[in-house]
Symmetry: C2
Subunit: 161 residues, 2 copies
């Protein structure tokens, strides 16, 4: 077990409406996948530090859906929802994503779960937005802080599994 | 009623993975929407002329899914599937789209249904692909013929409603 935190890499390539995210974990791929699909685990790490997370629904299967609400310490709430196109355990998920503050602006995201052996794994996500403006808005929404802090809490969830 | 066919406009902007489609119909928006969601109507117009269309499932609601198989006169079959993120009658649909010949390459498409008054309407679709290559592959797959011929058959379906 290392003390250093694995870095999260966020790439927003110029001119195309993509966000690519990559993060390694000092945990087996099965544990990382489980922490992405079991609502009681997702609740413990999704989003920035200090936010309340209410998971209304998290049903990871083709045609299943999710909705969750983040509430910051000032009491402001942000709701998100989507549906799952496919979910293959320990391998691959494709889902839609909508921030209800910008209704009908819906992105699609694939997440690939990779076994790195020796109890380590990697998640690579590729998110695709319906416009460059929607992608840039997501980048400027404090996304990096939310991902960095969220994945650090996920490290703790994985250590406790 | 006009004899000329309403043209379909297909735009594939350079450098971004989008396809935009626009088509007007000499029919009210409620009829055009209905022909997009009732499987027995969809079956009559979806795809190029001369193909057999088998609709295995077509369930237009949040979390609903679809799968259909096109078979050309040579007996070659092409299957497609996806899930619906949202469907608001006579207004708006967002769905995912996967050609099973390229599994896991999934696009997202929004369709806006507009009332043009005097019994006319317009459909605007915006499809977003996970890569430029996927978008270009779709454009080069005879998409224009399929859309043009399909919408002409849709005109006939609408005239008979």
């Amino acid at each position: 077990m290392t003390n250093a935190t694995n870095p999260v890499t966020i790439t927003a390539p110029e001119g195309v409406p993509f966000i690519d995210i990559e993060r390694e974990f000092d945990a087996p791929v099965a544990a990382v996948y489980r922490a992405h699909v079991e609502p009681e685990l997702v609740k413990q790490w999704l989003g920035p530090n200090g936010y309340d997370v209410e998971i209304e629904r998290y049903d990871v299967r083709t045609g299943g859906g999710y909705r969750y609400v983040h509430t910051n310490p000032a009491g402001e709430s942000y709701a998100f929802n989507g549906v799952f196109h496919v979910a293959r355990p320990n391998e691959f998920i494709i889902q839609t994503f909508e921030f209800e503050g910008f209704p009908d602006v819906v992105s699609i995201e694939s997440a690939t779960f990779e076994d790195l052996e020796d109890g380590r794994s990697r998640v690579r996500a590729h998110a695709v937005y319906p416009s460059l403006e929607a992608r840039d808005g997501m980048i400027s929404s404090n996304m990096e802080v939310g991902l960095t802090e969220g994945y650090e809490r996920l490290d703790g969830v994985l250590a406790a599994l």
